[in-house]
Amino acid sequence: MKKRKHTLEIIIAAVFLISSATALVIHLNRESRGVIGVYRDGVLLSTFTLDGIEPLDYEVVGENGEMNLVHIDSDGARMLLANCPDKLCVLHGKLAGNEPIICLPNRVVVKWLSAAELSAETASRTDATLP
């Protein structure tokens, strides 16, 4: 009985350590950099190639008055403004690791595009990069 008691505790501690380590790896992993995609309701609205891009602010507007302002420069992207209640996406700061910037209330996602997504995107669009 005593043995079983400790087993569960050790499992929980192990899961905690593994998940923290994985989270750290995800955060520090910056392989797929280069092109940023902005999504609303799961639909890709725009892609931005960062190489040599002029700093710009991209506005995402939803049907029910949702608004997000994404600032993009050669260093990455961040959410400048959002009219959602929690503003967690603004607090997220720069798009750093693999974790996308997410505005849950407005259903907006800003993320790095993977190589596969990129090739699918360029195939379906003629003008993939906005000025």
């Binding site: 008691k5 569960l8 505790e9 929980i12 899961v15 905690f16 593994i18 998940s19 923290s20 994985t22 989270a23 995800i26 999504y39 309701d41 799961g42 639909v43 209640p85 929690d86 967690l88 996406c89 603004v90 607090l91 997220h92 700061g93 693999n98 974790e99 996308p100 997410i102 849950l104 209330p105 259903r107 907006v108 996602v109 993320k111």
Partner: protein, 166 residues
């Protein structure tokens, strides 16, 4: 416990959970990741399940999520709250009786992780982006810590109240 007393206690606990829920929502977020919070109201749910049983605890939880949504985050908060609450409550009602009071924190930690996964699933469904799964490890780690803490709180509250009643 008489039925009237049970009902009154459940109502009291529901309002207590609501106060904790609102007070926590008023605090600035610890980190800028959606869904990361302590979940103090979970203490009340655990307490209700141990002292009043599963049906009353379900009522307390449902009242907190519904009224909390009306007062604060609106429909989307209610949706996330319900998804997390349902996942966590299902697990809690399965595990609660199987653990001694001293080990309630284990139940609570597991439930917190279930809660986070429930919300993660809704987030993926709502935004339509599977990449949100990248948050799963963070949510697991934080869920274990937050759940363990609220579980310890629930154990302490249960012990104290038992002494006070004597």
């Amino acid at each position: 416990m008489s039925r009237t007393r049970k009902l009154a206690t459940a109502a009291l606990l529901a309002s207590l959970a609501l106060v904790l829920h609102m007070a926590e929502a008023a605090l600035p977020p610890l980190v800028a990741i959606p869904g990361i919070k302590l979940g103090l109201a979970n203490v009340v749910t655990l307490f209700a399940m141990v002292t009043l049983g599963i049906p009353c605890a379900a009522g307390v939880l449902a009242a907190r999520i519904f009224v909390g949504g009306l007062l604060g985050g609106g429909l989307s908060a209610m949706l996330y709250g319900a998804a997390g609450g349902l996942a966590s409550f299902a697990l809690m009602s399965l595990l609660c009786r199987k653990f001694q009071r001293k080990r309630l924190w284990i139940v609570s930690a597991l439930c917190a992780v279930a809660h986070n996964y429930g919300q993660l699933a809704v987030a993926i469904a709502v935004t339509g982006r599977a990449e949100i799964i990248w948050y799963a490890p963070v949510l697991t780690a934080v869920g274990i810590i937050a759940g363990a803490l609220t579980g310890v709180c629930a154990t302490l509250v249960l012990n104290r109240l038992e002494k006070a009643r004597k």
